[in-house]
Structure formats: structure tokens, C-alpha cells
Amino acid sequence: MAYHSGYGAHGSKHRARAAPEPPPLFDDTSGGYPSQPGGYPAPGAEVAFNVNHLLGDPMANVAMAYGSSIASHGKDMVHKELHRFVSVNKLKYFFAVDTAYVAKKLGLLVFPYTHQNWEVQYSRDVPLPPRQDLNAPDLYIPTMAFITYVLLAGMALGIQKRFSPEVLGLCASTALVWIVMEVLALLLGIYLATVRSDLSTFHLLAYSGYKYVGMILSVLTGLVFGSDGYYVALAWTSSALMYFIVRSLRTAALGPDNMGGPAPRQQLHLYLTLGAAAFQPLIIYWLTFHLVR
């Protein structure tokens, strides 16, 4: 966390010369660490000198200094490679949540019918982070819900006396593969229908990941109330999720230009959104029915 803040502060110093920087998503907790790149070898050398006094064994100290320099070098390399594939700043936007947002979003996922304004708010062309805008998608809820789903699946299988440690991994990878396929299908649909929107891959990942909340609720109700409770919860969460997805994707896909374009394009948008929404109950049923027998 401090490394990220250090890098973020360093990067924002560079950016401040070129353009006004967006407000920071996280507080800067890099109080104890130097924020220049030249400061990096110095703490390693200081540690080596201090430990030299403590241990009194020169070989171990040399090895420790060498190891720490290798570790920091490896960390730099990993950061560089990661920055090439995944834009960490864009990813940070999706995790800038707080407790109030999470609570309200969970309530919205279960009961979206009374929510009026579904548009994502912008401030100076930059979308507001989830902390300040309820409609912004986030990746925190899907990640936590995925992990909770895997643990809950293990528990449900344990109750049915069908548990073994491989099952957890199998369940996790199955759910992950379905998510990947759904995101790829959505990307393909958006490309083919030439929808002009600012829906990036992470947005689609977030919207696909919200179904885990419905899955968890269905499985919990099924465990507590039996098979009938499972089907009731499945119907409720499926319809709530379908409504949520249709409203969110329609405002997100049509967002910047509200004219909508020619009629066949609008039809394609509609089919894409309805297809994405109709897929949710199927996959919720498919991934949970074997847990509630």
C-alpha cells in the first residue's frame, strides 16, 4: 500500500507539470518512506549497516543486503510489467469504496425498483469514484462476493457431506471461467454492434460480477429454508438483477449522446442488453443448484 502511494505521489509530480491532476483516490500514507527513486537503495544500505552491528557475521549481512536489493529489484520489475498490462490507476478507481457505498449498493442490488436516477455523474470529464456516486460500478463487491461464494459453496457441500478440498478449487475456477466467457461475449457484442460508450473491460467485469451477490443470497436462503426458499430467492434476485442490469447498461451505453442513433442500432443495443440480462438467471441457477439439494 505504501509503495503504491509512493509511486502515485511520484507519478503525480510528473503529471502536475503537464496537466491538472485528478483528485487523489486514496489518502497518501507514505509518511515513513522516501518518495524519490534515489531513496530506494539508501534504506537497504542502512538496514545492512544496522544489522552488521547486531549480528556481527559479515557473510550473513552481505547475503541479507544482496537479498533485499534483489527483492526490491524484482518488485520494480513486477511493477513495470504489471503497468504494461493493467493500468493500475484505472483499477484503483474501481476499489475506491467506503462502507456507506457498499451498504447502499447491496441494497440497490436486492431492491432496485425504487431508484430514480441511474446516470453516472462526472466531474470535469472524469467519472466520479464510487465513493461519491452510487451509480458508479466497482470491483470491490464482485471480488468479495466471489470469495464469499466459493467459501459458501464449500460449506454447502460440507453440509451435504460431499466436501473435499479439490471441490473448492474446482468451484472457483468454474465460476471464474463463466465470468471470463461472459465478459468476452459482452465485448464481442459491443464490438459487433459498434456501441460507442465508455464501457471498458473493467466496467463489464464489474457488472458481470454483481450476480455473485444474488448467488450468495439464493444459496443462503436455500440452506436455511430448504429447496422452496432457494427457488423463491432465486426468482427474486434474478428479477432484481435483470432490472438492475437493464437500467445500468442502458444509461451507460447510451450515455454521452442521447439521440441514440438510427433505429436498427438502437435495436441492437436493446438486444444486447436484454441478452446480457437474460443470461444472469440462467448462470445463477447453473452455478448454485447443485449446492442446494
Binding site: S173, V177, M181, Y191, A193, T194, G261
Partner: protein, 82 residues
């Protein structure tokens, strides 16, 4: 239907391979999906069919070289490990 990440990799390799195999002259032209047919004018909306043709052509161009490498690695690994 339980998936593993390995089966996802296998499926994606097979699908990419299938897309890369579609030969322009022998096959796509016969069903009217060649890239020199039907691009049309510079209207604002390209339409699904031309988008799909573009996608197939770009996938074929990009994927051809790395696919050879990945397939040979897969062949060697499958021969060794079954």
C-alpha cells in the same frame, strides 16, 4: 459442467485456430464474406456483417504467427504429458 482454467485455455486455442484457418479465397469468398466484397461506402454505421468480416480478418492477421508457436508448444507438451 465443471471447467478448469486449463479447459478455458484449450477452448480458446481451438477457437482461435479455427478462426485462423478460414481461407479467404477458397471459403470465405464463396459465402460472400471475403474482405473485398461488401465494404460499402463510408456511412456512419458499419453493420454487423462488415464488423464480423473485419474481426475475422484482423484476428487472422494478428494471431497467425504466435499461434504457430503456441500450437507447437501444445503439441510437444501433449506428447510428453498426455
Amino acid at each position: 459442467m465443471t471447467f478448469t482454467l486449463y479447459s478455458l485455455l484449450q477452448a480458446s486455442l481451438l477457437c482461435l485456430n479455427a478462426t485462423a484457418l478460414l481461407h479467404e479465397e477458397r471459403y470465405l469468398k464463396n459465402i460472400g464474406w471475403g474482405t473485398d466484397q461488401g465494404i460499402g461506402g463510408f456511412g456512419e454505421k458499419p453493420g454487423i456483417k462488415s464488423q464480423l468480416m473485419n474481426l475475422i480478418r484482423s484476428v487472422r492477421t494478428v494471431v497467425r504467427m504466435p499461434l504457430i508457436i503456441v500450437k507447437s508448444i501444445a503439441i510437444v507438451l501433449l506428447l510428453l504429458f498426455g
